[in-house]
């Protein structure tokens, strides 16, 4: 691990100024991902700025019937909040499906959506990776792709040596739920505060896979706003993984059913939490029967690019995510707990 200076400013404004002033400065929240990446040599900051005790650790009711969640609230606290459990079960379930008790006690709401991919090549500095070292190439293409993306990947078979190639997935469970809930991210940056719709926080690799989000250097997540769900809405998070607990998603689904509306977000399938807008569109106006959902998912996945690779590749994600969405919507509409 490279040495770094450590700073704990007096308030968030100072924290933002400190990071903004130095290109290789980073914010430290719960540390569960940053410290991991520091040890691996993936993150190599000159300065670490601790904001864990600076941002809010409160969950407050908002005037519109939603919640404002301070960035320092831990994943555990948020999952345990009675309001979240009762009114946004999809969020509580997503939080509880992620990591473990002793990780959720450290992880924060501000940091969790900003965690980096767990791509095995990204975390191994001895292999090329465009996300870690722009322009070095992508080792995942044609490699071990079980946990990699099928959506948001360019139609042409990705070229491992091209600088824009990246088939990593975003690992957060909470982020998938926040995407389906139309959450908003409160951000403070050197230029002031702004609000980002959660679905727009994360980006596709585009021409710069090193950037996971639209945040600019120095911008700090200070809170996440959760809008209310329509009366009578039901929601659920379904995560499918390789062992019964303590594993990242192969695929996951966050679903909200409200009146005639079905909202869907998918995890484990793309570089960002994937709001399935095309499937939602197909389902608009008709009852979400199994056949209808299957058809909607076929539309959503029409552009999917399953990745071949060692150990069988990840083509199984297409039927798996379809089946998981069909089952989740079925359970939400039939009254059976998902």
């Amino acid at each position: 691990m490279k040495p770094f200076a450590f700073a704990r400013p007096g308030d968030v404004a100072e924290a933002v100024r400190t990071v903004a002033a130095e290109p290789a400065a980073v914010f430290l929240g719960g540390g569960t991902n940053l410290v991991d990446l520091l040890k691996l040599g993936v993150a190599r900051p000159d300065r670490v700025v601790d904001v864990r005790r600076l941002t809010s650790r409160e969950i407050t009711d908002t005037d519109d019937g939603g919640l404002r969640i301070g960035a320092a609230v831990t994943n555990s606290e948020l999952a345990a909040d009675p309001r979240v459990r009762e009114r946004w079960p999809v969020l509580a379930q997503a939080l509880l499906a992620g990591a473990t008790g002793q990780l959720r006690n450290l992880a924060t709401v501000g940091g969790n959506p900003l965690q980096r991919t767990r791509c095995v090549y990204f975390t191994d500095v001895s292999t090329p990776c465009n996300k870690r070292e722009p322009g070095s190439g992508c080792s995942a293409v044609g490699g071990y792709t079980r946990y990699h993306a099928v959506l948001g990947v360019p139609a042409a078979l990705p070229d491992a040596s091209a600088p824009e190639t990246c088939i990593a997935t975003h690992p957060s469970d909470m982020a998938v739920a926040l995407a389906v809930l139309d959450a908003r991210v409160q951000v403070l940056g050197p230029g002031g505060a702004r609000t980002i719709p959660f679905a727009e926080l994360h980006r596709l690799p585009g021409d710069d896979p090193s950037r996971d989000t639209v945040l600019e250097h120095g911008e700090l997540v200070t809170a996440i706003d959760l809008p209310p769900l329509p009366a009578g809405a039901r929601s659920a998070y379904r995560k499918v993984r390789d062992r019964a607990s303590y594993a990242f998603a192969l695929v996951s689904v966050a679903a909200v059913v409200a009146g005639g509306e079905v909202r869907l977000a998918l995890g484990g399938v793309a570089h960002r939490p994937w709001r399935a807008t095309r499937a939602e569109e197909v389902l608009r106006g008709g009852p979400p029967t199994a056949d209808a959902v299957r058809g909607a998912m076929a539309a959503e996945l029409a552009a999917a690019q399953p990745q071949p690779g060692i150990d069988g590749g990840n083509g199984f994600k297409i039927p798996l995510v379809t089946r998981t969405v069909v089952a989740t919507v079925r359970d939400l509409t039939s009254g059976v707990p998902a």
Binding site: M1, V120, G143, Y144, D242, R243, A244, I310, R323
Partner: protein, 697 residues
């Protein structure tokens, strides 16, 4: 025939003597040894799979405050022996596998050591590497023998003819994955070289055998045994990977010799453990099974292809259980190896039997299906009267009783029909047999001394969670005819008499036999009223032996599997094992051993898979987030039971060993249950949900 000890302490449920220290965390593991002013060592690993180091630039590393020394192939001491190329660290500029150690940093703190290791710049002349295991390679070869001294190939009768004429046949290829032992305690050594001391080298090493570890170091460094002390009171698991010393023990020694008088701590990272401390080779098993209409085997053959490293041969004895498990007039077993540019494979829990009982036990299930015979019954029908391999009678063989008792406990007779569905889950059950040879090592000595009114037994044995701290006093107590509470046992130090490695489920059999000899010697010499300081020793080779019987432990495992009808997620809510493993010394620690083996077998069935990336020549998964082992939530109602078995031929305790048999057969039982639940026959481990998706409703 041996005179069995009258069991008084043996068979008693006794709490672990080291238990309180372990639940508090005060038991001291190798890296934790409290030493004065330790330095820390961190290896630099090759990033090419084959080639030559052409330049090592240590200037940036050496410029860092706190760096004591950087050892490279050009600055490291020349070793006395480079015959074992796994141990010949920093002796040449050849790179034989990716991850091989090419430099070593020693520094004042662990942080600086690691930073400096990152700062060492290595330049390579890379050569093409070959790390792909395949059955159709044209360079497969037959090793002279396979692990544990078994013959490479055996043949009896005419398998081909039987296959051609039999009523039913199964001919399939089965594969097991590459596995990494991954004990929770990373391999580590604290080393001190003090040239002026009587014993100049002290190693606090995480090892399954202090004496074998010492022998390895003495050979490599040209030291006499009197010059080296190895200490290891506690081992945080090993499962075979700490049975042999690995390169890091030599590196720690080398580092200590580079900074005389300064203790050096070398703890491998979890990532480094994926290349430096051994693994179980992947196996490809071509099975041929032929049977008559009643299910009696006419032929069974297993042709195994597996890998070894180019620099050191290790040949897993995968075909060995097929030689003795079931009766059959025609039989063939072969082993062929590919020598690749890969890290050196080694022991992992039940080498041979564990992978070698996967293919055959699934093939038998396929045969049972073909014939419409219950798979429990099929196994019973093929029970051999004598050992088919040697023709010797069994010392005791209770496989049939294990199958019947397991079936009764499990409710096998009432098992659901194929493709049975309960709510969201498809439910199936499966069975497989377990086996493990009963072994005793040739060398071990115990000393028993009367000291301050109690008996002290000393032997350099190891307790890697197996319970030696607790069961050896039980054995010594019965051999001496005193209460276990009156016996103190001291283990884990080469200051005590030589002991064999804790491996092959032979520890208790071997060390216990030495203790029994020592106790009898003690009583012969000093009677029942010894004086303070009276002492006698006993060697295991003085213990009675039996050459006329084949000795094995047997078992049967029953699995209930549930497969989610929507997603294919696999759960194993019930896993029962019944074992005939001789006399159980301590039911508490033995149960944990059986369950531990079964849990690792479950993990092998569903999760473990060191996916190999042959493009770069290394394991793609290199940590515990990717290399999944079973977690608590993967385990449901898991039970281990055993038969009351009295085997007069194995040793004075009547014990057969319990450390490994639990992992044998588990994966086959799970896979067979998956087939019953879904109709999908998985022949390649692990069974994961993607394999089942096409068959789901």
């Amino acid at each position: 025939m041996t005179e069995l000890l009258e069991p008084r302490a043996i068979g008693r449920d006794m709490v672990r003597r080291d238990g309180e220290a372990k639940v508090r965390g005060t038991a001291t593991y190798a890296i934790e040894t409290p030493v004065e002013d330790p330095a820390y060592a961190h290896p630099v690993q090759a990033t090419v799979a084959r080639g030559r180091v052409t330049a090592v630039d240590t200037s940036a590393a050496e410029a860092l405050d706190g760096v004591l020394v950087v050892l490279t192939p050009s600055t490291a001491e020349r070793l006395a022996s480079v015959e074992d190329r796994e141990y010949a660290v920093l002796q040449s500029d050849e790179v034989d596998f990716r991850g091989q150690v090419v430099a070593l940093v020693v520094a004042e703190t662990s942080e600086v050591a690691r930073q400096a290791a990152d700062a060492v710049r290595i330049t390579y002349a890379e050569q093409p590497h070959d790390s792909t295991l395949a059955v159709d390679r044209d360079d497969l070869y037959a090793p002279e023998q396979v692990n544990a001294g078994h013959e490479t190939d055996t043949a009896q009768g005419d398998v081909a003819a039987a296959m051609a004429t039999a009523h039913a046949t199964v001919e399939q290829t089965y594969t097991t994955a590459m596995y990494h032992n991954n004990p929770l305690e990373p391999h580590a050594t604290t080393a001190l070289w003090d040239p002026a001391a009587d014993v100049p080298l002290t190693l606090w090493d995480s090892t399954q055998g202090v004496h074998p570890s010492r022998s390895a170091v003495c050979g490599v460094f040209g030291l006499e045994e009197e010059q080296v002390r190895v200490v290891c009171p506690f081992v945080g698991g090993g499962f075979g990977s700490k049975g042999n010393a690995h390169a890091h023990v030599m590196l720690a020694t080398m580092a200590a010799r580079a900074v005389p008088g300064r203790p050096v701590k070398l703890g491998l990272t979890r990532q480094q453990m994926f290349t430096l401390v051994g693994y179980r080779t992947p196996t490809i098993q071509k099975l041929q099974v032929a049977a008559d209409r009643t299910g009696r085997l006419q032929a069974i053959a297993i042709d195994v292809v597996e890998q070894t490293s180019r620099i050191k041969e290790y040949a897993e004895q995968t075909g060995v259980p097929t030689r003795m498990m079931y009766a059959s007039p025609n039989r063939r077993t072969t082993h062929r190896l590919a020598a690749l540019d890969v890290p050196v494979p080694s022991w992992m829990r039940a080498p041979g039997e564990c992978p070698g009982m996967f293919g055959p036990e699934v093939a038998l299930d396929e045969l049972a299906d073909t014939l419409g015979i219950d798979p429990v019954e099929l196994r019973i029908r093929n029970e051999p009267g004598v050992d088919p391999e040697t023709g010797k009678p069994w010392s005791s063989r209770n496989l049939v009783q294990c199958l019947r008792e397991g079936a009764r406990r499990f409710g096998w007779a009432d098992r659901p029909p194929p493709l049975h569905r309960e709510g969201a889950w498809l439910v199936g059950t499966g069975v497989a047999s377990s086996v493990y040879p009963t072994m005793r090592q040739a060398t071990s000595t115990a000393v028993i001394r009367y000291e301050d009114g109690r008996y002290v037994a000393e032997i350099g044995a190891a307790d890697l969670g197996t319970g030696a701290w607790t069961v050896l006093p039980q054995i010594a107590a019965d051999a001496l005819g005193v209460d276990a509470e009156d016996v103190e046992v001291r283990i884990g130090d080469t200051r005590y008499p030589v002991a064999s490695v804790a491996g092959g489920s032979s520890g208790t059999n071997t060390w216990g036999s030495a203790l029994v000899v020592a106790a009898r010697e003690f009583r012969t010499k000093f009677g029942h009223a010894p004086a303070d300081g009276d002492e006698a020793s006993g060697d295991v080779d003085q213990a009675s032996t039996d050459e006329d019987h084949s000795a094995y432990a047997f078992g049967a495992q029953f699995a209930e599997v549930r497969v989610h009808a929507d997603t294919g997620e696999i759960r194993v809510p019930r896993l029962y094992g019944v074992f005939g493993a001789g006399r159980i010394i301590n039911p508490r620690t033995a149960r944990s051993q059986f369950l531990g083996g079964m849990t690792m077998g479950l993990s092998m069935a569903l999760h473990e898979n060191s996916v190999w990336d042959d493009r770069i020549g290394q394991v793609a998964k290199h940590d515990l987030a990717e290399y999944h082992v079973s977690v608590n939530a993967d385990v449901g109602d898991m039970q281990a039971h055993w038969l009351d078995e009295h085997d007069p031929y194995v040793n004075a305790m009547g014990s057969k060993g319990v450390g490994e048999i639990g992992i044998v057969g588990t994966a086959a039982a799970v896979v067979n249950a998956v087939h019953r639940a879904t109709g999908v026959r998985v022949r390649d481990l692990p069974v994961t949900l993607d394999r089942l998706l096409p068959a789901l409703p």
